[in-house]
Structures are given as C-alpha cells and as structure tokens.
Symmetry: C2
Subunit: 216 residues, 2 copies
C-alpha cells in the first residue's frame, strides 16, 4: 500500500465505512454491497469501490463484502487494532464533552488523563477521571504511554499546551482551539475547526439552486 | 463560477484562508503573497494559488494580493457578507461549548435559540441565551428567521430533532451526534465527527516512517 499516495479524504471516508460496518456487524449482518455501504454513509457506491481499491481487492462480484472481514481490514488500515491513549488538555465544556463522547471508546480511543490549570477544575472528576494540574501532564505522558494529545483549552493557552506536548514526545495532536498551532514536522497535527463546516454549508446555501453547473 | 465543480476541500481551505486574512487585516497588513497565506494556514503556496484560481484572477504578479480585497472576496464567496442565525438543539457540555465558541461570532454566525427537552436545563442561561423547551423550536425557527440548525443532543435524540428542523424548513444542519441522519436532499447536512480526524492521525502514525512511498 502506498500510504503517501492515499488522499486524506479517502482515509476520512474509510473511517466512516468502518463505523458503518461495525454497526451492521453488531446487528448480525454477514455480507454487504458497496451500494449498501454507500447508502449507510451518504456517498456514492462508485466512491466506496474507488476508496477500497486503494487497499487491495475485497469482496466477490455479485455477492458483496464479508462484513467481519472488511471491518477487520478497515480497523487494521486505520491503526485501530490496538487501543490509543490520549491526554486531554482543558476540562471546560468542550473538554467535558470530549471525555463523555461515546464515539471515542467505541473506536479504541481512551482518555488517560485530563489536565487543566484552572484551580476550580483541578481535582474534579469527569466520568471516572480526575482533573490534574497541567504541570503533571509531562509525567503522565511518559508513565502512561500516551501518544495522542487533545487540545481543548481557550485560544490563548493553546500554543503553550502544544509546546508541552511536543517537548514530551507526543506523536500526534488533535487541536480544537481556533488557531493554527506552530508544531514541528515530527509531530502530526490536525485541527477540528467548528466553523469551517458551517462555511461549507453557507457556501452551498448561497449557490445551490441559484446557479446551474454551467453558469458563471 | 461553476459552484458545482469546486471541490469541498477547496471551500474548506478557502474558509481557512479567509480567517487568516481577517487576522492579518486586523494587524494592519496591506498586501500578502500566496506563500505567506500558505505558511499561515499550513498548506503549499501552489495549493493556495490553485484554490483561488477557481474563483477568478486575484493579485498582481510580484506584488501579491491586497488583503482587504481578498478578504472581502472570500467572505462573499462563502456567503458570509450577511449574518446567519442558528438554532442549537442540546444544552449539554457540547452545546454549551458551541454557545461560547468565539469562532462563530467572528464569522457572522449567531446562535439565536437554544433548545433542550431536559427539564433541569430549560430556563438556564448560557451566555445571554435562555434554554427553551424543544417544542418551542418550530416557532422560533419561523419567527426569528433561523436558517441553520446545530444538533448537539445525544445520539438517541438526534434523528427526532433533525426531523423537527426539516419539517420547519431549516435550510442546513450541522450534526455533532455520531450517527448518519436521514435527511431529505432539500436540506443540506454536514457531520462533525469528533473521531474521524483521530483516525486520520492514527492512520498516519501507523504508516509514517515505517513505509516508504514505494513500498507495498
């Protein structure tokens, strides 16, 4: 597999297919067609086939895919056959929402530590995790084998938190603060910007209907 | 402009460029190069030029782009030259985080109503908005001219909330619940899945370094 050649959008959709497969596997479904996967996640069947083709030959013509096999394969591709431990910086509303987010645990992501420098939050429990002072994050990253950092602090504190994570050899950061972090290339980073998807919607609202594909 | 031919990834990046332009405009910067925009948002300069080329000819060779002009143009393309009112369903941790999210107001998005069916939440204030019962959402959508719905309720309640929004002619939905909603084609919908980006990270962590571009 040429990982470098695979579009990020394909990986994003693979994650959605994988989740759909888990759902139907739980319901006892044994085989599934690309059309059914497509319908389940809201893309075209051709897209499903094209995305899966990056990773090899699956399925049997006229029969479809074996759900358990394809689920296992998608989990393997996504690196989800072992659990990932995460450190969460920020125990505010967003941090609390992330802690209680069922979607993480389902996919093998586990929050192994919550850190904040707000004295009113330190010592409180979110689910079964006690909020620790930010200065305890480095030790926790090393001793607990944490590989992924989640940044859910206010904008002004985000770079400082990122710097601590980078300095302590975190492998990847998922940033929810609305700013571009300055991070060395050795650390993977992705931003979850809550407004960007809204602007994709308003762009489409603006042009939909009022513009034919061939108009300028 | 052929709106239908423009990749969604381009719109996503345009939203990021627009935000970067706003930031440097506030700092008094008058002209900017594609290289500086690229550096500011973490993509290549060629990507910036390619994305902007979808929308026409901007900038002067050797001089760069006028920041105010390009900012205005990006806002216009994204449909952000007028404010958008949003109804938020769900006043839990995630809903509260969305209400207090500075990034929305900055871009002209305004939460014009918060709705929940949890009696312990109804009547509480988040920022300066009082949480109303879910059954008051239809009237609010119509009387306040709300066009966008945000769904931040638990998974089991998400489809019901979406159905109410659709029935009351909401134009677009941004869904934070981890499931695929069943929505008619007449209503735009995008999902913010908090785990998907994590899986893009784990995919990259798995293959980075261990795989050369030409390996299989």
């Amino acid at each position: 597999m040429k990982a470098a050649k695979i579009p990020e959008a394909t990986i994003t959709r693979l994650s959605m297919y994988s989740r759909f497969l888990k759902r139907i596997d739980r319901r006892g479904v044994v085989t599934v067609s690309s059309g059914e996967i497509a319908e389940g996640v809201g893309v075209s069947a051709a897209q499903v086939r094209k995305d899966l083709a990056y990773f090899g030959e699956f399925g049997t013509r006229g029969v479809g895919y074996n759900v358990k096999d394809l689920l296992h394969y998608t989990l393997k591709i996504l690196g989800l056959t072992h659990p990932w431990l995460m450190a969460l910086a920020g125990a505010g509303n967003l941090g609390t929402a992330l802690c209680t987010h069922r979607g993480f645990r389902d996919r093998g992501f586990s929050i192994a530590g919550v850190f904040d420098n707000d004295l009113t939050k330190i010592g409180k429990r979110i689910e079964d995790i006690m909020v620790q002072p930010l200065e305890e994050m480095p030790e926790a990253i090393h001793s607990r084998g944490i590989k992924i950092g989640l940044i859910a602090v206010p904008t002004r504190g985000a770079q400082e938190v990122a710097d601590i994570m980078v300095k302590n050899n975190i492998a990847a950061i998922l940033n929810f603060a609305p700013l571009s972090l300055s991070i060395p290339d050795s650390v993977l980073v992705r931003n979850v910007d809550l407004s960007v998807k809204l602007e994709v919607l308003t762009f489409n609202l603006k042009y939909r209907g009022s513009m034919a594909p061939e108009s300028t």
